[in-house]
Symmetry: C2
Subunit: 346 residues, 2 copies
């Protein structure tokens, strides 16, 4: 029989049904009239079980992230855009140019199709802005109560320019630690919409693709050691990861860490330490001391780095401690995040 | 502070906690003592946000699949092995040699760590058998009741040998349709363990990686048009997909379709049509008529193709109908799967 559909999907009033994930006609219809419509490109249009893409002439980076953020829509973003930004950034901080994304959806039966369409449209916009192509995908549906609306996995593939070698292992004592802007915005924005917690704030998520910024750094900073986006676990945990990977200590300066008043007061209200609150559009870059002014200049010239600061430097320390000089002249150890602080933030 | 963990994770009696997904010390500990232990390899060991792998000298294929099978353990397999087989096969049927997998876990709070360890160990075994490397991963945890134990996304990257061009679009009238063995085993095996449905059967899932078989065909069959693994939606839906993609009709012969007595009687008991029951280790290959005997011979010589049969051929048909000649000499239209038949089969 032909694939002609009996009736169009009602994206205004309809809901996700188990048949949308069964692999038959309803699945094909959802793919054709939703995913292919918004993600439209030649690779996706191949219609085979995987996407065939040209031979990359460089080393490739592969990164994956499943997104379970709750709620699905929050000030400054939604799970769709976040699923693009998160994986684009994981690829980009490895020094790579992100090219391709896969998208795997797990949908809960009964989820409104109107919301799914908003999410898919938002993903498509985010992918276009980041100049990446969603080349292949998958959709599964689970029974009502067996998931929480929508979970999205994205996996990204990018290429690393010749001669570029970055890793969290490459930090050396004396290296400068530069942060691209205000911390804690994503976490606070998401928390402000949690059902049991709603509070008034002007804070919006910083969710954004960092690849144009990372690209500029990769091209211009010869001593660039590594980049990292401080997401789950926040700035504090990410610095600890890098210190531990490289076998160095770190000294950072509280007064240099960019933080907005709105985030500061929200964190006080919520009893959160902003050092551990997630960011989704911030960059930590570590480079040789001699290149720090140039790196800072490039960041500040970029729309996503206008509040960048040199927040500290690496030191010799066999314990790999991250120590913060406080605004009052004291000193505080910055440990790894040890509790959960903010569940389901990305 | 250093990353030294206060106490080891209790994989025998412990359960997944929200902190395991928070990105802090507990996440790092789970990654180190579970995922890195079983998936151990140099790429994963890089410890950066993505895995850097060598430049592929050929075109690459990217395929993704989220796995939500229920129950998680079934005769002949489990969600871990299935998550490897499913994506390896999606890459392999594109004519590619699968090289790398990413693994994205969504875990439900309270899930027993002992079961998670079994699943991860099974994934590692399956990856080793298929000769693919799990190069990067991600773990999220959602609250109890917001997922169903474990969901696993895998995304695969493989390389396509020079000169190989396969697609579901390439079938021509006259082409032979070859199936590698018994249908319906995976679906029946999973259904036999559903809580509300348990019934006695000897059927085991056929879940397996097909890449050594597809590789043999790619190398030896000059007129190979396409390959496809008939998973969700079964043989019936997959043939319809290919017919529609290529703009041909298909004629298949019921008596040629390999099916075991055990699957046949289970399907009768369950009221299922085996043509629409999922397979996870079966291959459909379509090639020029002249190569069909050679293709069949190669399949039969492979452990995963010993019951292979030429089940039919492509015909000119502007409606792209799939028609089956029944064992009794009649004829039946094989439509796309239109209902759900078997929810959460993969």
């Amino acid at each position: 029989m032909s694939k002609h559909y009996q009736r169009p999907i009602d994206f205004k009033h309809g809901r996700v049904e188990m048949t949308h994930g069964a692999g038959g006609r309803a699945s094909a219809q959802l793919i054709e009239t939703l995913f292919a419509k918004y993600f439209h490109n030649d690779y996706l249009g191949q219609g085979d079980d995987g996407a065939l893409v040209p031979s990359p002439s460089e080393r490739i980076v592969i990164a994956t992230d499943s997104h379970v953020v709750s709620p699905l829509f929050f000030p400054g973003g939604d799970i769709g855009a976040l699923a693009v930004h998160g994986t684009v950034n994981d690829v980009a901080v490895c020094g790579a140019t992100p090219l391709y994304l896969s998208a795997g959806f797990i949908l809960e039966e009964g989820f409104p199709l109107s919301e799914l369409e908003k999410i898919v449209a938002s993903m498509a916009r985010a992918a276009q802005q980041a100049n990446v192509t969603i080349v292949t995908g998958d959709t599964k549906v689970v029974e009502k109560g067996k998931a929480d609306g929508v979970f999205i996995n994205t996996t990204g593939v990018g290429i690393v320019p010749k001669g570029i070698h970055l890793s969290g292992k490459f930090c050396k004592p004396g290296d400068a630690i530069i942060l691209s802007g205000y911390i804690g915005e994503h976490g606070v924005a998401v928390m402000s919409k949690r059902q049991n917690l709603e509070f008034d704030t002007t804070v919006k998520s910083d969710s954004a693709s960092l690849n144009s910024l990372t690209d500029a750094l990769v091209r211009s900073i010869p001593t660039l050691r590594c980049m990292r986006d401080p997401t789950r676990g926040g700035l504090g945990t990410t610095l600890n990861e890098l210190a531990s990977q490289s076998g160095v200590g770190m000294r950072i300066f509280e007064e240099k860490i960019p933080i907005s008043e709105a985030v500061e007061s929200a964190c006080e209200f919520l009893g959160l330490d902003p050092l551990y609150v997630a960011n989704e559009g911030k960059l930590i870059a570590i480079c040789g001391k001699e290149d720090a002014p140039r790196l800072l200049e490039i960041m500040k010239a970029h729309p996503l780095g206008s509040h960048a600061e040199i927040i500290g430097h690496c030191v010799e320390d066999e314990n790999h401690f991250v120590e913060m000089k406080t605004a009052f002249g004291g000193s505080r150890m910055i440990d790894w995040l040890s509790g959960e602080q903010l569940p389901r933030i990305c």
